[in-house]
């Protein structure tokens, strides 16, 4: 008859197993200690703030700034001035309830502290909200520049880039050099406030986020996400045609 029970370990076997288990736990402890020592030693020269990050949280309410008037000091985020009611957030699908609604008035500063005023009365406005850390913005902004280079931008359309959701710990910081050197952006830029008031007031649902305003300041179209060269042209043409 076969014995179904496992063989009883001898005291020597049991002692051997205990020793092995002990060495496993000691080894594991040594790995943890070594990892801690290595982390402390090899990150010693790092700036504390350089590896951890602050999420680019966007507040749920907008508000006014102290923008307008003369210049301010150069900075990656600048105060903005918003007038009028904020737009409702862009819905994920379906008709946009903000179309035909008067958009908030927006003014502020560029990275160098020079005043930037968004004035639809001078011609339709295309606001392009961009986040430097967003991979989709990093793909779409060059497409927008290619669109400009193509010469197909409708006459009289004022394009303004709005850099927002700035995080010093994320990729492609600072946004000033990101826009200038990496994206080669040569339309005017307005730097959103540190509290991201402008992008909230225009109801962004994602990045990149585009708002097209008619000459009376009402919303003609809003969208978020990449469109590519052809998509940008089609969307802008459709928005401007809807105003006619």
């Amino acid at each position: 008859m076969t014995n179904k029970n496992p063989k009883q370990p001898s005291p020597a076997d049991a002692s051997n197993r205990t020793r092995k288990q002990l060495s496993i736990w000691l080894g594991l402890g040594a790995v943890v200690v070594l990892a801690a020592v290595a982390a402390l030693v090899f990150s010693g020269g790092d700036d504390d703030s350089s590896s951890t990050t602050v999420p680019p949280t966007v507040p749920s309410t907008g508000g006014g700034g102290d923008g307008g008037g003369g210049g301010v000091a150069p900075a990656e985020s600048q105060p903005v001035t918003l007038t009028g009611a904020p737009l409702v957030p862009l819905p994920e699908s379906g008709a946009d309830p903000a179309v035909g609604v008067k958009a908030p008035g927006l003014s502020g500063y560029d990275f160098d502290g020079n005043p930037v005023v968004v004035d639809p009365s001078q011609g339709p406005v295309m606001l392009v909200f961009l986040a430097h850390w967003c991979p989709h913005c990093n793909r779409e902004a060059p497409q927008l520049m290619a669109w400009k280079a193509s010469g197909d931008v409708p006459d009289g359309l004022q394009v303004v880039g709005v850099t927002t959701a700035v995080s010093s710990e994320r990729d492609h910081y600072p946004p000033s050099s990101w826009m200038r050197d990496e994206m080669k952006w040569d339309w005017p830029v307005l730097a959103d406030s540190a509290e991201n008031e402008a992008v909230v007031a225009f109801g962004a649902s994602g990045f990149p986020f585009v708002v097209i305003l008619d000459t009376d300041g009402t919303v003609l179209s809003r969208w978020s996400g990449e469109r590519g060269l052809d998509g940008i042209q089609e969307s802008v043409d459709a928005a401007l045609a809807s105003a006619a």
Binding site: L28, A35, S43, T52, T57, V58, P135, D171, F209
Partner: protein, 188 residues
């Protein structure tokens, strides 16, 4: 941990996750290569405890980054938490009770967690597969950091789930005896 700088903490958990990932690969290789199988003998009795240690470390690390360092978890991070946190409890109870059946509860959790982590890590490098825009608040496709150029939080979770699955794939002492007896019966 409060005294550890953020940079050091990220490096510490990154190193631990690399050890876990390397360990998972080593266990899988030892399971697949018959000549190396005896080397797993030493791990047999402590595999569930080790799996618990991995799950507990991952849980504490996750809580450290969100509660101490204020890194808000993204949507996919939450899904991974849903599968990792219970593992710490289930594996602890299983280890204390020496319950061979703990694998039935832990393996499904770890497998689903592994798949979510793998997908999360994939879209971190290929954001266009998630959507065509970044979420305004906490986008899943934008990692908070990439230590050594590739270790993100999703990668850490991936290594943790893989290590747990690898450890749970090691037959227990009793299973091993059953296997040996079956082999002997077949041979006899």
């Amino acid at each position: 941990m409060e005294t550890m700088s953020p940079a050091a903490a990220i490096r510490f958990f990154s190193l631990l996750s690399l050890v876990a990932g390397a360990g998972a690969i080593a266990v899988v290789v030892m399971r697949l290569v018959p000549a190396l199988r005896p080397a797993l003998g030493a791990l047999r009795d402590v595999a569930v405890w080790l799996a618990f240690a991995v799950a507990a470390t991952a849980t504490l690390g996750s809580l450290y980054f969100s509660e101490v360092r204020d890194l808000v978890p993204c949507r996919l991070c939450w899904f991974q938490r849903i599968f990792m946190y219970p593992l710490a409890i289930v594996l602890l109870v299983g280890a204390i009770r020496r319950d061979r059946g703990v694998r039935w509860y832990a393996v499904p959790l770890a497998t689903i967690g592994l798949l979510v982590s793998a997908y999360h890590y994939f879209i971190e490098w290929n954001p266009q597969f998630e959507s065509d825009s970044c979420a305004v608040s906490v986008p899943c496709s934008v990692p908070y950091f990439r230590e050594f150029g590739f270790v993100s939080l999703a990668f850490m979770a991936l290594c943790g789930f893989a290590a747990i699955l690898a450890l749970l794939s090691i037959p227990s002492q009793e299973s091993r005896h059953d296997e040996q007896e079956s082999e002997a019966a077949v041979a006899g």
